[in-house]
């Protein structure tokens, strides 16, 4: 009874602390205009991702508006320019561009977040373990990271797509693994090294905490703010890699922003310039906007996590 009570109080105190540091971090984040801008853009895309299933269930019928199998029977010529029924026009195969755009947003989020989670899960564990144990484990993981940094990712993914059928899940997995064992692990390890020498780690050891306990309860939670930052960068690289590979026609996906541009390009509509703008501009702008939003968000977060970058109030 007594133990349970003190546990509860500890938990409450921790929550309050976490909430407080979140509030401080949030106010620093909101101070940078770039951070706010990136947050607004990401929220906008999240709304877009949610909007598609709702629209499909309410005002859009499947025969016309399905992003892959739909056909706009109401248009005489495909690709049709924007109209009331098709706000962003239709593509060369008669499919609604807006529907494709919204449908793809969801899979970009799924891809980005899966890749980021895989990266962070691997990188924090590898970083904490190699900082904590040092020695051979450390040498092995750090040389592995060096090797992965030395590999050009997109080229490697192109080669992999020649050998295997890459779908969204495998792509996220490969990007996540490359990121997790690569550069992110090195950065998180150097952070973990500075955590390892803090007095509370020693206190935990004196109190009888095992290696696993110290790594997962004391080191990794303190690595999380920094790994959140690298999640943002991983999302950017995952979305970018997906778009490039789909543009080159190398992925096994139903629809994505890259495939939309691929369709327009292979049909020869790109050199029409501004005449068929709705085939390229929405998808291209979405890729650029979402990638840069996550990237800039990461940079703004960098100022929260890394106090040396903050602007001084003087």
């Amino acid at each position: 009874m007594e133990v349970g009570h003190s546990r509860l109080r500890l938990l409450l105190a921790r929550t309050r602390l976490a909430w407080h540091s979140f509030r401080t971090g949030w106010s620093i984040f909101m101070e940078s205009r770039i951070g706010v801008l990136s947050l607004v853009i990401i929220a906008l895309f999240a709304v877009m991702a949610v909007a598609h299933p709702i629209l499909m269930l309410t005002i859009w019928d499947t025969d016309t508006y399905d992003p892959v199998t739909g056909y706009a029977f109401d248009q005489l010529e495909q690709p049709a320019p924007p109209s009331w029924r098709h706000p962003l026009g239709t593509d060369p195969l008669g499919r609604d561009v807006l529907s494709q755009l919204l449908w793809s947003t969801r899979s970009e989020f799924v891809l980005g977040i899966t890749a980021a989670l895989v990266t962070v899960a691997i990188a924090t564990t590898v970083g904490a373990v190699s900082a904590y144990y040092g020695g051979l484990v450390d040498v092995f993981f750090m040389r592995l990271a060096d090797l992965i940094i030395a590999l050009p990712g997109i080229s490697l993914l192109i080669v992999l797509s020649a050998l295997f059928k890459l779908n969204l899940f495998y792509l996220a997995l490969v990007i996540g693994i490359l990121g997790g064992f690569g550069g992110t692990a090195i950065i998180l390890k150097s952070q973990a090294l500075s955590i390892k020498v803090k007095p509370y780690i020693e206190a935990a050891r004196v109190a009888g905490g095992g290696h696993i306990h110290i790594i997962f309860v004391h080191i990794i939670p303190n690595l999380l703010p920094l790994s959140l930052l690298y999640m943002m960068f991983t999302v950017t690289s995952a979305i970018f890699a997906e778009a490039v590979l789909s543009f080159l026609g190398l992925l096994d996906l139903r629809m994505s922003w890259g495939i939309m541009i691929h369709t327009a390009n292979t049909g020869g509509y790109l050199m029409g310039g501004t005449r068929y703008w709705w085939l390229v501009v929405p998808a291209g702008a979405s890729i650029t906007l979402l990638c840069s939003a996550f990237y800039l968000g990461g940079r703004a977060l960098d100022e929260v996590v890394n106090p040396r970058l903050r602007r001084r109030h003087d």
Binding site: R143, A162, L163, F240, I261, L270, G284
Partner: protein, 383 residues
Amino acid sequence: MTGYLVRRAGQLVITLFLIITFAFFLVQAQPGDYATFYALDPDMPPEVKEQMRASFGLDKPLWQQYLIHLKNTVTGNFGVSFGHFPRPVMEVLIERVPRTAVLFLTATVLSFYIGFLLGKAIAWRRGGFLEYTATISGATLFTVFTPAFALMMIWIFAFRLGWLPVGKFLDPLVWRHAEVSANFVFSQMLLTAFLITAFAFLALYLLRKTGRIGLVKWAGPLIAVALVVALLIWSLSGIGGLALDILHHMILPIVTLTLISFAGTMLLTRNSMLETVREDYVMAARAKGLPEKLVRDRHAARNALLPVVTSLVYSLIFAIDGSVIIEGVFSWPGTGLTLLQAVRSEDLPLVMGAMVFIGLFSLLAHVIVDVLYVYLDPRIRYQ
């Protein structure tokens, strides 16, 4: 210093070995082998299939195959390309590697220079109009969807304005009556560029060595004279027009690659500068009354350069990936385009060869960064 470089070289050899091993197991991990690729033909009798497997060495145990693969890769024997049939992979790649190297090196040097200058400037005057425009446009260019951006550049400069060619390496109309091959002209151009760079470095080094500040001023004119001499030789050689045609085709890919990759260096320099401008030696330099420009360039930026150079590896890798995409869009016949075409036509020997070469490029990038680092950081030099 030599010890450091030797150790790094050893690590690079191991890395290369791992890349070659990785390439081997990638091919092993996929279903079927090179022989099944050919043997899908139902008319082929089983004996012929067996013979084919034997001729590929696929009847041997795995470890022997691995050793053969290792030996072949080290001796540069990647086999025969399926797509360019009778030509060996090595021959195809040797023809295309210099083109990629030029594209990638020029763009990297340019983007590093521009990025460093801009990063220095925006860190020095924080919060200004320049900082917001440079950060936002830089980050947009850095994260822009490269193929779409490249196509937009083509559309504006080649299609609409007509200033530059749409893509490819040369214009067949210009080369119709040429008596020399494009590769010959291109290698001569490379040689010229190399000689001029070497001359410039040597001149600067020797003039610095004399220890007289007054003499260093003469480096600029000397290099200009060398450039004029080179131009004269080229215009008299009779193939100057052909070289100009290749140069004309090079401009747009290089500009595009530079634009997408300068922001990485810029943002890093900014961050690194923000840390050095708070150091005591910067304040000391200011207190001495040194001009603002000198404090910025010689005291703050010189020390901010180190972390930027360390992460130059990242930007070089970024440029390698970028050049694969750029080559694809501009039909620039380098290693990247070769890789893409090989992937699309399932020309596996060529894919593997191109991958090993791209791996080599990135290792070369590591070497360049190591040497630069030794040059820049005296702590390593005198260890």
